[in-house]
Symmetry: none
Subunit: 82 residues, 3 copies
């Protein structure tokens, strides 16, 4: 009885941690990819003929942030099932 209550409390705490963790990872991705996207827009306005180069580099570097952020969200999902 006591044990079941404690286990339920643990599940609740884990769920709260997972929600906050996933949300904070989204803030990280927003800050990082936002900076890159803003700079890329200004760069295209400055040198419209370099659009192809800017686009490819923008996607490469944004993918690095995306990778870490998505992996962090998946770690948070894992906490539901372990």
């Amino acid at each position: 009885m006591m044990l079941a209550m404690i286990l339920a409390a643990i599940d609740g705490l884990l769920g709260i941690g997972a929600c906050f963790g996933a949300a904070i990872a989204a803030i990280g991705a927003g800050i990082g990819i936002g900076k890159i996207g803003a700079a890329a827009m200004e760069a295209i306005a400055r040198q419209p003929e370099a659009t192809g180069d800017i686009r490819s580099n923008m996607i490469v570097i944004a993918a690095l942030i995306e990778g870490v952020a998505l992996f962090a969200v998946i770690v948070c999902v894992l906490s539901f099932f372990l």
Copy 2:
């Protein structure tokens, strides 16, 4: 009886976590896509003839942030059912 009370309290905590988590993920998307959108508007104003390039790049990079933020919100929704 005691157990049912504790379980209800846990459900409440999970709901609070899910709501705050979804809201914080929305802040992340707001910061990131806001930066990109602002820079894109200024870029179009600076080089109106590059509007097509700027629009397509703006959508690509905003979609990356959108992906992480939406996934975080879905993780928060999941916490209701687990």
Copy 3:
């Protein structure tokens, strides 16, 4: 009985720590790689003929941040299994 309760509580706290840790690591990667990407975009716009050099250096230095952030996330995952 008492021991089992304590162990369960520890598991829950470990899960919360793992989620927060992974999310904060993603913020770190977002801030760092975001700065690098933004500066690289502006650099390409300033000197479009140096695109290759800028890209290779951008990837090298972003990989350093990526390495630490991914390792931190993996350490957080490890806390589930130990």
